[in-house]
């Protein structure tokens, strides 16, 4: 059926794969009609998709450094875009984003703008130049551009701090989904998730991760879009929700005005289970100050351009030109999901609060709501809660509480979609969390094995030995992440946002100025990375321990302070010390020209 080499056949291979996945969904829905239980369907979805990723991971095994670190630099633009989109969209994007929009409205939308706008910075400031450089890892660029082991080592430190903060959240998410779908305790499910993650990356490194991420993107985008379109059609809201929900949005505003946002007393709120929230903010009105919105968006944009697991995806394209285009495709594939999240939030909210819809629960009697099947299920799962605070026997808007995840997980059931959709959503969430975790673990392990072990400790190590070290590190870092995830310290989204702030504090300006400012030198880069990371982390600790903060910079945007310190330190120290030598200046000149061999390829 398939002749010739794998790269030429990619559209065919993934076309067959997509068809196979759709066929699987249809088989499952027939199974549901014939009496397959919800639990079996859930297990089938997760087990089937994870098994496919594992097979792809196995087929991509390699013993070559180029394939292991940068997938042989032959990933075509569109496929690299899909892989980056999967790499990028985490379990948090998939499961929690619609919920964030549902509860926080405009103030949360800053994340959507930030997580997409950052790609403009990636495309214009960094990706093509780092691709021309021809490095294996982000610290590889820093180390060669500025020279010296200390710069390289500091870059590894920043990368590890940022990525590790992020990866525990992802392993946590795979654990949550695996524990629900497979019905096993969370402490074990975390390790089931981890083993699935390692199956994709261990044998093939970047090559394995690339081809599994493409497969994971296809699963996660189908799993996100299918329910959104289905729910919208079922509710009669419009067959293409993105263009047709204006009436629904204004209806929500109308209902908000009618019900009002009644504030609950602290005593009443004590009854509400932890992690659940009520609707307290307007859906489509502007409910945050300009600076609150802009500072959060800016932090996410600069963080995007500094996160190594995203940047390294553009090292895998065949050319500089392809790297630029590939950023565009990445953002396009991300846009498909991000632009659907607000639509899902709108549909979900309206279906619950509109008394004129059959699914609406506000205004019904408490007893009636408590007897609804789906309410009982999600109440048991600790994601929904109602209570009659004012004792009038009727459910008011302020008496209804829900977990953020429920918007994605429960809306299909509330809207009356078959269970097969819930199984599909579980597989999608698993794909999203696994693909991001893979990218992150690989980024950390590659940086330590390539930059610390090979470049600093043992520059004479043979390829076989280097790859053994890389794989051992992969497993060690994975287990460390899983162990911390099993302790359940920080909620999913909190730690995701911190990762962006850490990355921008330490890496944004050293990376950007490395290309755009020839005068930037080693001393400046060391000061920029070290002081940026320390001041950012210091600010976070200060605010977390009761500090008041300044300029409206919160624990979610501490990177703005960290990166400002980093910029000032880098410029001042660079100017106080001598300019980089002629060889370095020439190297920067060459990075700016797309044609010709890569910088590192020449050495």
């Amino acid at each position: 059926m398939i002749k010739g080499n794998f790269i030429d056949n990619l559209p065919k291979v993934y076309g067959i794969y997509t068809g196979g996945f759709l066929a699987f969904i249809i088989i499952m829905s027939i199974g549901e009609q014939m009496g397959m239980t919800a639990k079996v369907i859930g297990i089938c979805f997760v087990a089937f998709t994870v098994a496919i990723y594992a097979i792809i991971g196995y087929l991509s095994r390699t013993a070559q450094a180029d394939a292991y670190y940068v997938a042989g630099r032959q990933v075509p633009t569109v496929f690299n875009g899909m892989a980056t989109a999967a790499d990028w969209m985490s379990g948090a994007s998939f499961v929690a984003m619609a919920g964030g929009i549902y509860f926080k409205g405009y103030g949360y939308m800053a994340l959507l703008v930030g997580w997409t706008g950052g790609y403009v910075l990636v495309a214009s400031l960094l990706a093509p130049y780092l691709r021309k450089f021809g490095c294996y890892t982000v610290p590889d660029f820093i180390g060669t551009r500025y020279g010296g082991n200390l710069t390289r080592f500091l870059a590894v430190v920043v990368l590890t701090v940022a990525s590790f903060t992020y990866v525990t959240a992802q392993i946590n998410a795979t654990g949550t989904i695996a524990s629900v779908a497979l019905d096993i305790p969370f402490q074990y499910a975390v390790y089931v998730g981890l083993i699935s993650i390692l199956l994709c990356s261990m044998l093939g490194g970047m090559r394995g991760v690339t081809w599994t991420q493409v497969a994971q993107y296809i699963v996660l985008i189908i799993a996100y879009l299918l329910p959104v379109f289905w729910i919208s059609n079922k509710m009669g809201a419009g067959f293409f929700p993105h263009f047709m929900l204006a009436d629904e949005v204004s209806r929500i505003a109308e209902l908000e005005a009618q019900f009002g946002f009644v504030k609950n007393s602290a005593e009443n709120l004590k009854e509400v289970p932890k992690g659940l929230a009520g609707i307290t903010k307007a859906h489509s009105a502007v409910n945050a100050t300009p600076w609150a919105f802009i500072s959060l968006a800016l932090a996410m944009m600069m963080g995007t351009a500094s996160l190594p697991h995203v940047m390294m995806r553009y090292f895998t394209t065949p050319s500089v030109k392809a790297a630029r285009k590939s950023v565009g495709w990445s953002l396009f594939f991300i846009f498909l999901l991000y632009s659907s999240a607000p639509m899902l939030a709108t549909l979900s909210k309206l279906s619950l609060i509109d008394p004129s819809l059959p699914t609406g629960i506000i205004g019904k009697s408490i007893a009636e709501v408590q007897s609804i099947d789906w309410y009982q299920n999600w109440n048991q799962a600790n994601l929904m809660f109602v209570s009659d605070f004012n004792g009038n026997g009727t459910l008011e808007l302020n008496e209804f509480f829900m977990g953020g995840k429920a918007v994605v997980l429960a809306t299909p059931e509330i809207a009356g979609l078959p269970y097969v959709i819930s199984g599909l959503v579980a597989a999608g969430g698993m794909a999203a969390a696994m693909s991001t975790a893979d990218g992150l673990i690989l980024a950390i392990a590659n940086a330590i094995s390539h930059d610390v072990y090979y470049k600093i400790i043992d520059p004479k190590a043979e390829t076989a030995k280097r790859l053994v070290v890389a794989r051992v590190l992969l497993v060690v870092i994975g287990f460390a992440g899983a162990t911390i995830a099993a302790m359940e310290i920080q909620g999913i989204l909190g730690s995701v946002i911190w990762a962006f702030d850490f990355a921008m504090s330490g890496l944004f300006f050293p990376l950007v100025l490395g290309v755009w400012w020839k005068r930037a030198n080693r001393e400046g880069a060391i000061a920029g990375m070290a002081l940026g990371l320390i001041s950012g982390a210091g600010y976070l600790i200060w605010v977390r321990t009761g500090g008041s903060g300044f300029l409206g910079i919160t624990q979610l945007t501490f990177g703005i302070f960290g990166s400002a310190v980093s910029l000032v330190a880098m410029v001042v120290v660079s100017l106080m010390t001598s300019a980089p030598n002629a060889a370095t200046q020439k190297m920067v000149d060459e990075v700016r020209v797309p044609a010709g061999r890569s910088i590192l390829g020449k050495q």
């Binding site: 075509p76 633009t77 405009y106 939308m109 800053a110 959507l112 703008v113 930030g114 997409t116 706008g117 790609y119 403009v120 910075l121 495309a123 214009s124 400031l125 093509p128 993105h242 263009f243 047709m244 929900l245 204006a246 009436d247 949005v249 204004s250 489509s284 009105a285 502007v286 945050a288 300009p290 919105f293 802009i294 968006a297 800016l298 944009m301 065949p318 050319s319 500089v320 030109k321 392809a322 630029r324 285009k325 950023v327 565009g328 953002l331 396009f332 846009f335 991000y338 632009s339 607000p342 639509m343 000149d589 700016r592 020209v593 797309p594 044609a595």
Partner: protein, 86 residues
């Protein structure tokens, strides 16, 4: 000016233009979020709300492809483009 310097000047010009457009749709318009939201935007959504759901996001996608094409033209002009299609 050498060929390489001219190429870099043009590339910098393109960067500035790209960043200016980026600034407007990621930061600039949100200075006036509350005022803009009074206006009805595309498909009947409130304007600021539409920008946060679709508008800014879609503009970024188009902006990156536009930037990539312009930069390719600049590279070709100075003979710095690479061989190969993708």
């Amino acid at each position: 000016m050498s060929k390489q310097e001219q190429h870099w000047e043009k590339s910098k010009g393109l960067l500035m233009m790209t960043l200016a457009i980026w600034f407007v749709f990621s930061i600039g318009i949100f200075l006036f979020g509350a005022e803009m939201n009074e206006v009805t935007g595309p498909f009947g959504y409130p304007l600021t709300y539409w920008f946060t759901c679709q508008g800014s996001l879609g503009i970024f996608v188009i902006l990156i492809f536009w930037f990539a094409n312009r930069q390719e033209k600049i590279d070709e002009e100075f003979g710095f483009s690479e061989r190969g299609d993708d």
